[in-house]
Protein backbone atom coordinates (compact mmCIF):
# COMPACT_ATOMS: atom_id res chain seq x y z
CA UNK A 1 0.00 0.00 0.00
CA UNK A 2 2.75 2.37 0.99
CA UNK A 3 4.55 1.41 -2.19
CA UNK A 4 1.53 2.18 -4.26
CA UNK A 5 1.19 5.70 -2.84
CA UNK A 6 4.87 6.25 -3.51
CA UNK A 7 4.39 5.26 -7.12
CA UNK A 8 1.43 7.55 -7.59
CA UNK A 9 3.37 10.45 -6.08
CA UNK A 10 6.31 9.58 -8.32
CA UNK A 11 4.13 9.57 -11.40
CA UNK A 12 2.62 12.90 -10.48
CA UNK A 13 6.08 14.35 -9.94
CA UNK A 14 7.19 13.13 -13.36
CA UNK A 15 4.12 14.64 -14.99
CA UNK A 16 4.59 17.99 -13.24
CA UNK A 17 8.27 18.00 -14.15
CA UNK A 18 7.58 17.33 -17.82
CA UNK A 19 4.55 19.47 -18.34
CA UNK A 20 4.98 22.51 -16.09
CA UNK A 21 7.24 24.51 -18.43
CA UNK A 22 5.05 23.53 -21.36
CA UNK A 23 1.95 24.74 -19.55
CA UNK A 24 3.84 27.90 -18.68
CA UNK A 25 4.79 28.76 -22.24
CA UNK A 26 1.24 28.02 -23.43
CA UNK A 27 -0.12 30.28 -20.71
CA UNK A 28 2.37 32.97 -21.70
CA UNK A 29 1.29 32.76 -25.33
CA UNK A 30 -2.23 33.77 -24.32
CA UNK A 31 -1.17 36.81 -22.31
CA UNK A 32 -1.13 40.31 -23.68
CA UNK A 33 2.13 42.11 -24.23
CA UNK A 34 1.09 45.00 -21.99
CA UNK A 35 0.17 42.69 -19.13
CA UNK A 36 3.64 41.23 -19.37
CA UNK A 37 5.60 44.48 -19.51
CA UNK A 38 3.58 45.85 -16.62
CA UNK A 39 4.92 42.97 -14.60
CA UNK A 40 2.34 40.32 -13.83
CA UNK A 41 4.17 37.34 -12.42
CA UNK A 42 1.03 35.22 -12.42
CA UNK A 43 1.11 31.77 -13.91
CA UNK A 44 -2.25 31.89 -15.66
CA UNK A 45 -3.18 34.37 -18.36
CA UNK A 46 -5.15 37.41 -17.30
CA UNK A 47 -7.63 39.35 -19.35
CA UNK A 48 -6.65 42.55 -21.06
CA UNK A 49 -5.95 44.16 -24.36
CA UNK A 50 -4.43 41.63 -26.76
CA UNK A 51 -4.96 38.59 -24.57
CA UNK A 52 -6.29 35.37 -26.05
CA UNK A 53 -5.62 34.23 -29.57
CA UNK A 54 -4.25 37.54 -30.87
CA UNK A 55 -0.61 36.51 -30.41
CA UNK A 56 -1.21 33.52 -32.62
CA UNK A 57 -2.88 35.68 -35.23
CA UNK A 58 0.09 38.05 -35.22
CA UNK A 59 2.60 35.23 -35.51
CA UNK A 60 0.74 33.61 -38.37
CA UNK A 61 0.57 36.96 -40.16
CA UNK A 62 4.33 37.23 -39.95
CA UNK A 63 6.08 36.24 -43.18
CA UNK A 64 9.41 35.73 -41.47
CA UNK A 65 7.89 33.13 -39.21
CA UNK A 66 5.96 31.35 -41.95
CA UNK A 67 9.03 31.10 -44.16
CA UNK A 68 11.02 29.68 -41.24
CA UNK A 69 8.36 27.04 -40.64
CA UNK A 70 8.40 26.16 -44.31
CA UNK A 71 12.22 25.92 -44.29
CA UNK A 72 12.24 23.77 -41.18
CA UNK A 73 9.65 21.34 -42.49
CA UNK A 74 11.28 21.07 -45.91
CA UNK A 75 14.86 20.79 -44.73
CA UNK A 76 14.09 18.38 -41.90
CA UNK A 77 11.98 16.11 -44.07
CA UNK A 78 14.51 15.93 -46.91
CA UNK A 79 17.41 15.38 -44.52
CA UNK A 80 15.44 12.67 -42.73
CA UNK A 81 14.53 10.76 -45.88
CA UNK A 82 18.04 10.90 -47.34
CA UNK A 83 19.73 10.10 -44.07
CA UNK A 84 17.49 7.10 -43.41
CA UNK A 85 18.07 5.71 -46.91
CA UNK A 86 21.85 5.98 -46.53
CA UNK A 87 21.74 4.63 -42.98
CA UNK A 88 19.57 1.69 -44.00
CA UNK A 89 22.15 0.57 -46.56
CA UNK A 90 24.93 0.86 -44.01
CA UNK A 91 22.98 -0.79 -41.20
CA UNK A 92 21.95 -3.66 -43.44
CA UNK A 93 25.60 -4.28 -44.30
CA UNK A 94 26.63 -4.07 -40.64
CA UNK A 95 23.92 -6.39 -39.39
CA UNK A 96 24.07 -8.86 -42.23
CA UNK A 97 27.46 -9.04 -43.88
CA UNK A 98 30.96 -9.81 -42.74
CA UNK A 99 33.36 -7.35 -44.26
CA UNK A 100 36.58 -5.61 -43.53
CA UNK A 101 36.26 -2.15 -42.07
CA UNK A 102 33.00 -2.90 -40.27
CA UNK A 103 34.49 -1.94 -36.89
CA UNK A 104 35.88 1.24 -38.40
CA UNK A 105 32.42 2.30 -39.58
CA UNK A 106 30.96 1.89 -36.12
CA UNK A 107 33.89 3.71 -34.53
CA UNK A 108 33.60 6.63 -36.95
CA UNK A 109 29.87 6.85 -36.29
CA UNK A 110 30.49 6.84 -32.54
CA UNK A 111 33.15 9.54 -32.86
CA UNK A 112 30.85 11.73 -34.93
CA UNK A 113 28.01 11.41 -32.45
CA UNK A 114 30.35 12.94 -29.89
CA UNK A 115 31.68 15.66 -32.14
CA UNK A 116 31.36 19.25 -30.90
CA UNK A 117 29.18 20.76 -33.59
CA UNK A 118 30.49 24.28 -33.05
CA UNK A 119 33.99 23.13 -34.03
CA UNK A 120 32.81 22.62 -37.59
CA UNK A 121 30.82 25.75 -38.00
CA UNK A 122 33.77 27.99 -38.86
CA UNK A 123 35.28 25.85 -41.61
CA UNK A 124 31.85 24.92 -42.98
CA UNK A 125 30.87 28.59 -43.04
CA UNK A 126 34.01 29.30 -45.07
CA UNK A 127 33.62 26.27 -47.36
CA UNK A 128 29.91 26.75 -47.99
CA UNK A 129 30.51 30.37 -48.99
CA UNK A 130 33.19 29.26 -51.43
CA UNK A 131 31.03 26.62 -53.11
CA UNK A 132 27.77 28.55 -52.96
CA UNK A 133 25.98 26.39 -50.40
CA UNK A 134 25.82 29.12 -47.78
CA UNK A 135 22.25 30.14 -46.94
CA UNK A 136 20.69 27.39 -49.06
CA UNK A 137 18.65 24.30 -48.21
CA UNK A 138 21.37 21.82 -49.25
CA UNK A 139 23.79 23.79 -47.08
CA UNK A 140 21.81 22.65 -44.05
CA UNK A 141 20.63 19.29 -45.33
CA UNK A 142 24.18 17.94 -45.76
CA UNK A 143 25.33 18.71 -42.19
CA UNK A 144 22.02 17.43 -40.77
CA UNK A 145 22.43 14.20 -42.70
CA UNK A 146 25.92 13.52 -41.53
CA UNK A 147 25.08 14.31 -37.92
CA UNK A 148 21.95 12.18 -37.85
CA UNK A 149 23.61 9.21 -39.54
CA UNK A 150 25.28 7.79 -36.41
CA UNK A 151 22.03 7.62 -34.46
CA UNK A 152 20.18 6.21 -37.48
CA UNK A 153 22.88 3.61 -38.18
CA UNK A 154 22.90 2.40 -34.56
CA UNK A 155 19.16 2.28 -34.20
CA UNK A 156 18.76 0.47 -37.48
CA UNK A 157 21.58 -2.01 -37.07
CA UNK A 158 20.35 -2.89 -33.55
CA UNK A 159 16.96 -3.40 -35.09
CA UNK A 160 18.13 -5.36 -38.12
CA UNK A 161 20.04 -7.78 -35.92
CA UNK A 162 16.77 -8.92 -34.40
CA UNK A 163 15.24 -9.79 -37.76
CA UNK A 164 15.26 -13.54 -38.45
CA UNK A 165 17.13 -13.39 -41.74
CA UNK A 166 16.81 -17.13 -42.31
CA UNK A 167 13.23 -16.45 -43.36
CA UNK A 168 14.54 -14.80 -46.47
CA UNK A 169 16.42 -17.95 -47.43
CA UNK A 170 13.40 -20.05 -46.55
CA UNK A 171 11.32 -18.03 -49.00
CA UNK A 172 13.99 -18.47 -51.64
CA UNK A 173 13.97 -22.19 -51.07
CA UNK A 174 10.22 -22.10 -51.61
CA UNK A 175 10.81 -20.62 -55.03
CA UNK A 176 10.83 -16.87 -54.54
CA UNK A 177 13.51 -14.88 -56.32
CA UNK A 178 15.93 -13.18 -53.97
CA UNK A 179 14.37 -9.79 -54.71
CA UNK A 180 10.88 -11.15 -54.00
CA UNK A 181 12.13 -12.77 -50.83
CA UNK A 182 13.68 -9.52 -49.70
CA UNK A 183 10.67 -7.39 -50.56
CA UNK A 184 7.97 -9.68 -49.20
CA UNK A 185 9.72 -10.93 -46.09
CA UNK A 186 12.43 -8.56 -44.95
CA UNK A 187 10.97 -5.19 -45.89
CA UNK A 188 7.79 -5.58 -43.80
CA UNK A 189 9.88 -6.72 -40.83
CA UNK A 190 12.35 -3.88 -41.21
CA UNK A 191 9.82 -1.11 -41.81
CA UNK A 192 9.11 -0.32 -38.13
CA UNK A 193 12.82 0.08 -37.43
CA UNK A 194 13.32 2.34 -40.39
CA UNK A 195 10.38 4.38 -39.25
CA UNK A 196 11.78 4.74 -35.73
CA UNK A 197 15.11 5.91 -37.11
CA UNK A 198 13.26 8.43 -39.26
CA UNK A 199 11.44 9.91 -36.28
CA UNK A 200 14.64 10.32 -34.27
CA UNK A 201 16.40 11.86 -37.25
CA UNK A 202 13.56 14.29 -37.74
CA UNK A 203 13.77 15.30 -34.05
CA UNK A 204 17.45 16.07 -34.45
CA UNK A 205 17.01 18.15 -37.58
CA UNK A 206 14.04 20.03 -36.17
CA UNK A 207 15.96 20.82 -32.97
CA UNK A 208 19.22 21.96 -34.54
CA UNK A 209 20.28 25.48 -33.70
CA UNK A 210 24.02 25.90 -34.25
CA UNK A 211 23.99 25.13 -37.98
CA UNK A 212 20.75 27.02 -38.37
CA UNK A 213 22.15 30.30 -37.07
CA UNK A 214 25.63 29.99 -38.58
CA UNK A 215 25.03 28.72 -42.07
CA UNK A 216 22.12 30.96 -43.00
CA UNK A 217 21.75 34.70 -43.26
CA UNK A 218 18.28 35.31 -44.68
CA UNK A 219 14.80 33.86 -44.66
CA UNK A 220 15.63 31.71 -47.67
CA UNK A 221 16.93 28.86 -45.53
CA UNK A 222 16.75 29.89 -41.87
CA UNK A 223 14.96 27.23 -39.84
CA UNK A 224 12.51 27.89 -37.05
CA UNK A 225 14.79 27.66 -33.96
CA UNK A 226 17.17 30.21 -35.45
CA UNK A 227 14.33 32.40 -36.57
CA UNK A 228 12.77 32.39 -33.10
CA UNK A 229 16.03 33.42 -31.50
CA UNK A 230 16.47 36.34 -33.88
CA UNK A 231 12.88 37.48 -33.57
CA UNK A 232 12.87 40.89 -31.92
CA UNK A 233 9.58 42.59 -32.70
CA UNK A 234 9.09 46.33 -32.43
CA UNK A 235 11.24 46.97 -29.37
CA UNK A 236 14.68 45.41 -29.80
CA UNK A 237 15.50 45.80 -26.11
CA UNK A 238 12.42 44.02 -24.84
CA UNK A 239 11.73 40.72 -26.47
CA UNK A 240 8.04 40.31 -27.21
CA UNK A 241 7.63 37.43 -24.79
CA UNK A 242 4.03 36.55 -25.55
CA UNK A 243 4.55 36.63 -29.32
CA UNK A 244 7.65 34.48 -29.00
CA UNK A 245 5.74 32.09 -26.79
CA UNK A 246 3.04 31.75 -29.43
CA UNK A 247 5.70 31.07 -32.06
CA UNK A 248 7.36 28.56 -29.79
CA UNK A 249 4.08 26.74 -29.22
CA UNK A 250 3.46 26.52 -32.96
CA UNK A 251 7.00 25.21 -33.55
CA UNK A 252 6.42 22.59 -30.86
CA UNK A 253 3.13 21.24 -32.18
CA UNK A 254 4.65 18.92 -34.84
CA UNK A 255 6.94 17.34 -32.26
CA UNK A 256 4.16 16.84 -29.73
CA UNK A 257 1.96 15.25 -32.38
CA UNK A 258 4.75 12.86 -33.32
CA UNK A 259 5.37 12.01 -29.67
CA UNK A 260 1.69 11.37 -29.03
CA UNK A 261 1.37 9.02 -31.97
CA UNK A 262 4.65 7.17 -31.83
CA UNK A 263 5.76 7.23 -28.18
CA UNK A 264 6.33 3.49 -27.97
CA UNK A 265 8.54 3.41 -31.05
CA UNK A 266 10.55 6.43 -29.93
CA UNK A 267 11.37 4.86 -26.57
CA UNK A 268 12.37 1.62 -28.27
CA UNK A 269 14.54 3.43 -30.80
CA UNK A 270 16.29 5.64 -28.27
CA UNK A 271 17.15 2.83 -25.95
CA UNK A 272 18.05 0.19 -28.52
CA UNK A 273 20.28 2.60 -30.40
CA UNK A 274 22.15 3.74 -27.35
CA UNK A 275 22.17 0.77 -25.01
CA UNK A 276 21.86 -2.37 -27.06
CA UNK A 277 23.72 -0.99 -30.08
Amino acid sequence: MKNRIGLVVGCLLIMVWCLLPVAWIISLSFKSQTAITNGSPGFFPADGEGAGWSNYRDVLDNDQFLLAIRNSIGISLIATVLSVVVATLAAYAIARLEFRGKKAVLTIALAIAMFPVVSLVGPLFDMWRAVGLYDTWPGLIIPYMSFTLPLAIWTLSAFFREIPWEMEQAAQVDGATSWQAFRKVIVPLAAPGVFTAAILTFFFAWNDFVFGISLTSTESARPIPASLSFFVGSDPFNRPASLLAAGAVIATIPIVVIVLIFQRKIVAGLTSGAVKG
Binding site: W17, L89, I112, P116, P123, L149, I153, N207, V259
Partner: protein, 308 residues
Protein backbone atom coordinates in the same frame (compact mmCIF):
# COMPACT_ATOMS: atom_id res chain seq x y z
CA UNK B 1 6.40 -31.21 -53.22
CA UNK B 2 10.06 -30.68 -52.76
CA UNK B 3 11.50 -27.48 -54.07
CA UNK B 4 14.74 -27.99 -55.92
CA UNK B 5 17.59 -26.83 -53.76
CA UNK B 6 19.31 -24.37 -55.97
CA UNK B 7 23.09 -24.35 -55.76
CA UNK B 8 22.65 -20.64 -54.99
CA UNK B 9 25.93 -19.02 -54.17
CA UNK B 10 28.47 -21.52 -55.47
CA UNK B 11 29.92 -24.03 -53.09
CA UNK B 12 33.54 -23.81 -54.30
CA UNK B 13 35.87 -20.91 -53.68
CA UNK B 14 34.70 -19.77 -50.25
CA UNK B 15 37.25 -17.01 -50.40
CA UNK B 16 35.61 -15.66 -53.54
CA UNK B 17 32.34 -15.44 -51.76
CA UNK B 18 33.90 -13.80 -48.75
CA UNK B 19 35.57 -11.31 -51.01
CA UNK B 20 32.29 -10.54 -52.76
CA UNK B 21 30.64 -10.06 -49.40
CA UNK B 22 33.36 -7.66 -48.31
CA UNK B 23 32.97 -5.72 -51.52
CA UNK B 24 29.19 -5.50 -51.16
CA UNK B 25 29.47 -4.51 -47.51
CA UNK B 26 31.93 -1.77 -48.26
CA UNK B 27 29.82 -0.52 -51.13
CA UNK B 28 26.77 -0.30 -48.89
CA UNK B 29 28.49 1.64 -46.11
CA UNK B 30 30.41 3.92 -48.46
CA UNK B 31 27.76 6.64 -48.86
CA UNK B 32 27.34 6.93 -45.09
CA UNK B 33 31.08 7.10 -44.51
CA UNK B 34 31.65 9.66 -47.25
CA UNK B 35 28.88 11.89 -45.93
CA UNK B 36 30.04 11.69 -42.34
CA UNK B 37 33.64 12.43 -43.24
CA UNK B 38 32.71 15.21 -45.67
CA UNK B 39 31.12 17.21 -42.89
CA UNK B 40 33.52 16.31 -40.08
CA UNK B 41 36.98 15.12 -41.03
CA UNK B 42 37.48 17.45 -43.96
CA UNK B 43 36.32 20.64 -42.18
CA UNK B 44 38.32 19.62 -39.13
CA UNK B 45 41.50 19.38 -41.22
CA UNK B 46 40.62 22.70 -42.74
CA UNK B 47 40.17 24.17 -39.27
CA UNK B 48 43.62 22.88 -38.39
CA UNK B 49 45.01 24.63 -41.47
CA UNK B 50 43.11 27.89 -40.99
CA UNK B 51 44.11 28.04 -37.34
CA UNK B 52 47.68 28.80 -38.36
CA UNK B 53 46.65 32.05 -40.00
CA UNK B 54 45.73 35.46 -38.78
CA UNK B 55 42.65 35.50 -40.96
CA UNK B 56 39.64 37.71 -40.55
CA UNK B 57 36.83 37.45 -43.04
CA UNK B 58 36.45 41.24 -42.97
CA UNK B 59 39.98 41.58 -44.37
CA UNK B 60 40.56 38.45 -46.48
CA UNK B 61 43.55 39.94 -48.29
CA UNK B 62 45.52 40.41 -45.11
CA UNK B 63 45.75 36.72 -44.37
CA UNK B 64 49.08 36.04 -42.65
CA UNK B 65 50.65 32.79 -41.63
CA UNK B 66 51.25 32.97 -37.89
CA UNK B 67 52.03 29.38 -36.92
CA UNK B 68 50.84 28.43 -33.46
CA UNK B 69 50.44 31.96 -32.20
CA UNK B 70 46.61 31.73 -32.26
CA UNK B 71 46.85 28.77 -29.91
CA UNK B 72 49.27 30.59 -27.63
CA UNK B 73 46.98 33.60 -27.54
CA UNK B 74 43.96 31.44 -26.71
CA UNK B 75 45.72 29.36 -24.08
CA UNK B 76 47.14 32.38 -22.28
CA UNK B 77 43.88 34.29 -22.37
CA UNK B 78 41.95 34.19 -19.09
CA UNK B 79 38.69 34.28 -21.07
CA UNK B 80 39.48 30.89 -22.59
CA UNK B 81 40.07 29.30 -19.20
CA UNK B 82 37.07 31.00 -17.68
CA UNK B 83 34.74 29.67 -20.40
CA UNK B 84 36.30 26.23 -20.08
CA UNK B 85 35.75 26.33 -16.33
CA UNK B 86 32.10 27.34 -16.74
CA UNK B 87 31.59 24.61 -19.35
CA UNK B 88 33.03 21.95 -17.04
CA UNK B 89 30.80 23.28 -14.26
CA UNK B 90 27.70 23.01 -16.50
CA UNK B 91 28.70 19.50 -17.45
CA UNK B 92 29.47 18.16 -13.99
CA UNK B 93 26.46 19.66 -12.23
CA UNK B 94 23.86 18.88 -14.90
CA UNK B 95 25.03 15.31 -15.42
CA UNK B 96 25.19 14.63 -11.67
CA UNK B 97 21.73 16.06 -11.04
CA UNK B 98 20.30 14.30 -14.09
CA UNK B 99 21.76 10.99 -13.02
CA UNK B 100 19.98 11.19 -9.67
CA UNK B 101 16.65 12.53 -10.94
CA UNK B 102 16.77 10.37 -14.06
CA UNK B 103 17.37 7.27 -11.98
CA UNK B 104 14.48 8.12 -9.67
CA UNK B 105 12.22 8.61 -12.70
CA UNK B 106 13.43 5.36 -14.22
CA UNK B 107 12.63 3.48 -11.00
CA UNK B 108 9.11 4.89 -10.99
CA UNK B 109 8.61 4.10 -14.68
CA UNK B 110 9.99 0.61 -14.20
CA UNK B 111 7.55 -0.22 -11.41
CA UNK B 112 4.47 1.58 -12.66
CA UNK B 113 1.81 -0.59 -14.27
CA UNK B 114 -1.09 1.79 -14.71
CA UNK B 115 -0.90 4.81 -16.99
CA UNK B 116 2.35 3.63 -18.53
CA UNK B 117 1.60 5.22 -21.88
CA UNK B 118 0.72 8.57 -20.34
CA UNK B 119 3.96 8.70 -18.36
CA UNK B 120 6.08 7.71 -21.31
CA UNK B 121 4.39 10.24 -23.53
CA UNK B 122 4.93 13.04 -21.05
CA UNK B 123 8.57 12.16 -20.50
CA UNK B 124 9.18 12.38 -24.23
CA UNK B 125 7.81 15.89 -24.46
CA UNK B 126 10.84 17.68 -22.95
CA UNK B 127 13.06 15.48 -25.09
CA UNK B 128 11.20 16.48 -28.23
CA UNK B 129 10.88 20.18 -27.56
CA UNK B 130 13.36 22.43 -29.35
CA UNK B 131 16.15 23.47 -26.98
CA UNK B 132 15.67 27.08 -28.01
CA UNK B 133 12.01 26.91 -27.02
CA UNK B 134 12.84 25.41 -23.63
CA UNK B 135 15.46 28.13 -23.23
CA UNK B 136 12.80 30.77 -23.82
CA UNK B 137 10.31 29.07 -21.50
CA UNK B 138 12.82 29.06 -18.65
CA UNK B 139 14.16 32.51 -19.41
CA UNK B 140 10.66 33.95 -19.14
CA UNK B 141 9.93 31.82 -16.08
CA UNK B 142 12.99 33.18 -14.25
CA UNK B 143 12.44 36.73 -15.45
CA UNK B 144 11.49 39.10 -12.62
CA UNK B 145 9.29 40.99 -15.02
CA UNK B 146 7.02 38.28 -16.35
CA UNK B 147 8.07 35.04 -14.68
CA UNK B 148 6.63 33.01 -11.86
CA UNK B 149 9.77 31.60 -10.26
CA UNK B 150 10.34 34.57 -7.94
CA UNK B 151 6.74 34.38 -6.80
CA UNK B 152 6.98 30.67 -6.04
CA UNK B 153 10.33 30.69 -4.29
CA UNK B 154 9.98 32.12 -0.78
CA UNK B 155 13.66 32.91 -0.27
CA UNK B 156 14.18 35.30 -3.19
CA UNK B 157 12.66 38.74 -3.49
CA UNK B 158 10.01 39.55 -6.09
CA UNK B 159 12.42 41.68 -8.06
CA UNK B 160 15.42 39.37 -7.91
CA UNK B 161 17.14 39.41 -11.29
CA UNK B 162 18.37 35.90 -12.01
CA UNK B 163 20.29 37.04 -15.05
CA UNK B 164 22.01 39.90 -13.24
CA UNK B 165 24.99 37.94 -11.90
CA UNK B 166 26.96 34.86 -12.81
CA UNK B 167 25.87 32.47 -10.06
CA UNK B 168 22.12 32.72 -10.46
CA UNK B 169 22.29 33.00 -14.26
CA UNK B 170 24.33 29.79 -14.38
CA UNK B 171 21.73 28.12 -12.15
CA UNK B 172 18.91 29.23 -14.47
CA UNK B 173 20.75 27.89 -17.52
CA UNK B 174 21.42 24.61 -15.73
CA UNK B 175 17.76 24.27 -14.81
CA UNK B 176 16.73 24.57 -18.44
CA UNK B 177 19.39 22.07 -19.52
CA UNK B 178 18.44 19.61 -16.78
CA UNK B 179 14.74 19.89 -17.56
CA UNK B 180 15.29 19.26 -21.22
CA UNK B 181 17.67 16.30 -21.04
CA UNK B 182 16.72 14.35 -17.91
CA UNK B 183 14.13 12.36 -19.93
CA UNK B 184 16.87 11.07 -22.22
CA UNK B 185 18.93 9.99 -19.23
CA UNK B 186 15.98 8.31 -17.54
CA UNK B 187 14.98 6.40 -20.68
CA UNK B 188 18.51 5.02 -21.05
CA UNK B 189 18.54 4.08 -17.36
CA UNK B 190 15.11 2.50 -17.72
CA UNK B 191 16.47 0.28 -20.48
CA UNK B 192 19.36 -0.63 -18.19
CA UNK B 193 16.99 -1.39 -15.30
CA UNK B 194 14.96 -3.67 -17.53
CA UNK B 195 18.06 -5.79 -18.03
CA UNK B 196 18.67 -6.38 -14.32
CA UNK B 197 17.20 -9.76 -13.55
CA UNK B 198 14.19 -9.70 -11.23
CA UNK B 199 15.24 -13.07 -9.82
CA UNK B 200 18.44 -11.65 -8.42
CA UNK B 201 16.56 -8.80 -6.75
CA UNK B 202 14.03 -11.25 -5.33
CA UNK B 203 16.82 -13.52 -4.10
CA UNK B 204 18.47 -10.61 -2.33
CA UNK B 205 15.12 -9.72 -0.79
CA UNK B 206 14.65 -13.26 0.50
CA UNK B 207 18.14 -13.14 1.96
CA UNK B 208 17.03 -10.12 3.94
CA UNK B 209 18.82 -7.36 2.05
CA UNK B 210 17.43 -3.92 2.77
CA UNK B 211 16.25 -1.65 -0.01
CA UNK B 212 19.53 0.30 0.06
CA UNK B 213 21.55 -2.89 -0.04
CA UNK B 214 19.58 -4.22 -3.00
CA UNK B 215 20.10 -0.94 -4.79
CA UNK B 216 23.83 -0.63 -4.19
CA UNK B 217 24.80 -4.32 -4.24
CA UNK B 218 22.51 -5.75 -6.92
CA UNK B 219 20.82 -3.17 -9.11
CA UNK B 220 23.53 -0.56 -9.66
CA UNK B 221 26.45 -2.96 -10.34
CA UNK B 222 24.37 -4.78 -12.93
CA UNK B 223 23.53 -1.54 -14.69
CA UNK B 224 27.07 -0.31 -14.90
CA UNK B 225 27.27 -0.43 -18.69
CA UNK B 226 23.95 1.35 -19.14
CA UNK B 227 24.93 4.01 -16.61
CA UNK B 228 28.24 4.52 -18.34
CA UNK B 229 26.68 4.93 -21.76
CA UNK B 230 24.12 7.38 -20.35
CA UNK B 231 26.76 9.43 -18.52
CA UNK B 232 29.12 9.47 -21.48
CA UNK B 233 26.47 10.58 -23.95
CA UNK B 234 25.04 13.21 -21.68
CA UNK B 235 28.41 14.53 -20.55
CA UNK B 236 29.63 15.07 -24.09
CA UNK B 237 26.32 16.60 -24.99
CA UNK B 238 26.46 18.93 -21.98
CA UNK B 239 30.03 19.91 -22.82
CA UNK B 240 28.76 21.30 -26.13
CA UNK B 241 26.11 23.42 -24.37
CA UNK B 242 25.19 26.35 -26.57
CA UNK B 243 21.53 26.84 -27.51
CA UNK B 244 20.10 27.71 -24.12
CA UNK B 245 22.99 30.04 -23.27
CA UNK B 246 22.49 31.85 -26.56
CA UNK B 247 18.81 32.35 -25.84
CA UNK B 248 18.88 32.97 -22.08
CA UNK B 249 21.87 35.26 -21.52
CA UNK B 250 23.63 35.54 -24.88
CA UNK B 251 26.80 34.83 -22.92
CA UNK B 252 26.46 37.83 -20.61
CA UNK B 253 27.64 37.86 -16.96
CA UNK B 254 30.30 35.21 -17.63
CA UNK B 255 27.86 32.44 -18.51
CA UNK B 256 29.60 31.87 -21.84
CA UNK B 257 30.57 28.28 -22.64
CA UNK B 258 33.55 27.23 -24.73
CA UNK B 259 31.24 26.47 -27.66
CA UNK B 260 29.79 29.93 -27.36
CA UNK B 261 33.21 31.57 -27.36
CA UNK B 262 34.15 29.62 -30.48
CA UNK B 263 30.93 30.61 -32.22
CA UNK B 264 31.35 34.25 -31.28
CA UNK B 265 34.91 34.42 -32.62
CA UNK B 266 34.12 32.68 -35.87
CA UNK B 267 30.66 33.75 -36.92
CA UNK B 268 30.03 37.02 -35.14
CA UNK B 269 33.50 38.50 -35.32
CA UNK B 270 34.61 36.78 -38.53
CA UNK B 271 37.95 35.82 -36.97
CA UNK B 272 38.32 32.58 -38.90
CA UNK B 273 41.92 32.00 -37.86
CA UNK B 274 41.34 32.44 -34.14
CA UNK B 275 37.94 30.74 -34.35
CA UNK B 276 39.53 27.72 -36.01
CA UNK B 277 42.17 27.49 -33.30
CA UNK B 278 39.38 27.52 -30.71
CA UNK B 279 37.51 24.87 -32.72
CA UNK B 280 40.53 22.61 -32.58
CA UNK B 281 40.95 23.22 -28.85
CA UNK B 282 37.26 22.49 -28.27
CA UNK B 283 37.56 19.27 -30.21
CA UNK B 284 40.64 18.22 -28.25
CA UNK B 285 38.96 18.99 -24.94
CA UNK B 286 35.95 16.87 -25.92
CA UNK B 287 38.35 14.02 -26.62
CA UNK B 288 39.89 14.49 -23.18
CA UNK B 289 36.48 14.43 -21.53
CA UNK B 290 35.44 11.29 -23.44
CA UNK B 291 38.69 9.56 -22.59
CA UNK B 292 38.43 10.54 -18.92
CA UNK B 293 34.91 9.17 -18.62
CA UNK B 294 35.73 5.89 -20.34
CA UNK B 295 38.80 5.51 -18.08
CA UNK B 296 36.86 6.49 -14.99
CA UNK B 297 34.26 3.77 -15.51
CA UNK B 298 36.87 1.28 -16.74
CA UNK B 299 34.46 -0.19 -19.25
CA UNK B 300 35.38 -0.94 -22.82
CA UNK B 301 32.80 0.95 -24.81
CA UNK B 302 32.69 -1.40 -27.77
CA UNK B 303 32.28 -4.30 -25.41
CA UNK B 304 29.62 -2.55 -23.37
CA UNK B 305 27.60 -1.89 -26.48
CA UNK B 306 27.60 -5.50 -27.48
CA UNK B 307 27.02 -7.07 -24.13
CA UNK B 308 24.44 -4.92 -22.46
Amino acid sequence: MTAPVKPVKGRPAVSDRARAETRLGQKLVAPAIVLMLLVTAFPMLRALYLSTFDYALTAPDERDFVGISNYLTALTDPLFWQTTGVTVLYMVVTVAVELVIGFAFAMVMHRVIFARGVIRTSILIPYGIITVVSGFAWQFAFSFQNGFVNGWLPFVGDDFNWFGQTGSAVVAIMVSEIWKTTPFMSLLLLAGLAQVSEDMIEAAKVDGATWTQRLTKVILPNMRAAIMVAVLFRALDAYRIFDNIFVMTAGAVKTESISFLTYRQTIEQFQLGMGSALSVLLFLSVLVVAFAIVKLFRVDLAQARQES
